[in-house]
Symmetry: C2
Subunit: 270 residues, 2 copies
């Protein structure tokens, strides 16, 4: 994959905005989807610092040849304010990971992490229905996972976040989606669980930490980590060493990339 | 040149900022220079509207993974204010077409259009020394051409701009560079001339107009047009029909692209 990059003055530009940025993979995957579809577009990594987010992104959105943006850590919630309208998932979750032209001069936002995670699990043949699930972190991605999983009717869902009030808010929302799930808030539980999901950035890039305190995980556990880089995070390494089934962040990304590319591309005003 | 574009999260991003933008060719040529040099960088077209210039570009320059920007019509003079320091050419011309990291957290700007034009003519074996030259327009690119040509000791230089006061200012500066050139200001003269240079955007993209009123050009004239798209502008078409030698805007670009790529890339802080 070392081809010369060919971009013309007519190319539509897309960006992924995050901090840090080096771990992102959508510049490869989304651009490949554009090329496959015959769309003259390219997606590039845009490293925006937290203090600059609103100002810099507002400037980007005023460029006529910008087709849209993907948002990653830590901007999925702050980005909501930039959208003129929100899709169905974004409205429930209160976060977006994509903003695209709405065809009337404005911007529409949507959150694809939930469907991406479900699709990643579906491709592995692992269902959430009837399972006992623990989810760590209820930021932008974590909230999206929580809502998507609630629609799949798990037996139990433990929500864990350093901000317990935030977790309680999400729990309330999920009980409206499906009152039959045994939903509670607390420290990450591993006992009597089928699936553990990490949605914190703990373990990203060179970070050696685990999002939970554990030396070993129950072998029956399926462990998912939303982090895309490294490929195998410290949590997933521990899971592998414990004999668990693992599902990677890249599988969540793969499960949503074509949807994101279509959303970005299809929204382009002719 | 239809390869899949491969960009990673570690890529350094560069942009060309202009209005309009579809005519630019540096996204191909500069990125190709980066690839040749083994530099993980990509240059993309950034369409910025005149009302948004200062705000949007300030936001772009705050992105840690932005390596630098090229400026094209109509921003080469406005961009000067964004640089913390100016190169030798930029100081004389009062315009820049590139801004790059200066290695100390700031931005340095330089103007390469002059050397690019000289290099384009040099590759054709055409010298300015002793020639009688007419130059139309003294904006960012035109001023750069005027200064570069003055250093080549032409016999005469007619400066033509809708803003006569601006042309007089440039004339004053050129007389300091070389008092032996017969420099004057006025309407574009074709009689008794060896070289005619157009630095206006008249004739760009679909514009059918000529920058001068003429049905035919003297056959002995060498005609240069700074416009890069179309390849053969209305002025160059008339010149070809009149049997003139023509030099294209792309030859000026080709004469400076590797210098710009080096300036952008070499300035990258490690």
């Amino acid at each position: 994959m070392d081809e010369v990059n060919y971009v013309s003055g007519r190319h539509r530009i897309y960006g992924i905005v995050g901090h840090p940025i080096e771990q992102v993979r959508s510049p490869e995957t989304v651009t490949a989807e554009f090329v496959k579809a015959g769309h003259e577009g390219i997606l590039v990594p845009l490293h925006v610092l937290p203090d600059d987010f609103e100002c810099t992104v507002a400037g980007l959105l005023r460029m006529p040849n910008l087709g849209g943006l993907i948002f990653t850590v830590p901007y999925k919630q702050r980005a909501v304010a930039l959208a003129n309208s929100l899709g169905r998932n974004a409205q429930v979750v209160g976060a977006i990971n994509v903003i695209a032209r709405d065809g009337t001069g404005g911007w529409k936002g949507e959150m694809f992490d939930g469907v991406g995670c479900l699709e990643g699990f579906r491709r592995r043949g692992i269902a959430f229905k009837g399972k006992r699930v623990t989810l760590i972190s209820l930021g932008g991605a974590g909230s999206a996972l929580a809502v998507a999983i609630a629609h799949e009717a798990p037996a139990a869902l433990r929500l864990s976040d350093i901000d317990a009030a935030k977790a309680e808010q999400v729990a309330l929302r999920l009980r409206h989606i499906n009152p039959h799930i045994d939903i509670d808030v607390g420290a990450p539980s591993l006992e009597d669980r089928d699936i553990l999901l990490n949605a914190t950035p703990v373990g990203m890039l060179g970070d050696p930490r685990l999002p939970i305190a554990a030396d070993r995980l129950p072998q029956a556990l399926t462990v998912f980590d939303a982090i895309v880089k490294p490929h195998t995070t410290p949590l997933l390494k521990l899971a592998e060493a414990s004999g668990c089934t693992i599902v990677r962040g890249r599988e969540m990304m793969a499960g949503q990339m074509w949807r994101i590319a279509e959303y970005l591309r299809g929204a382009v005003t002719p």
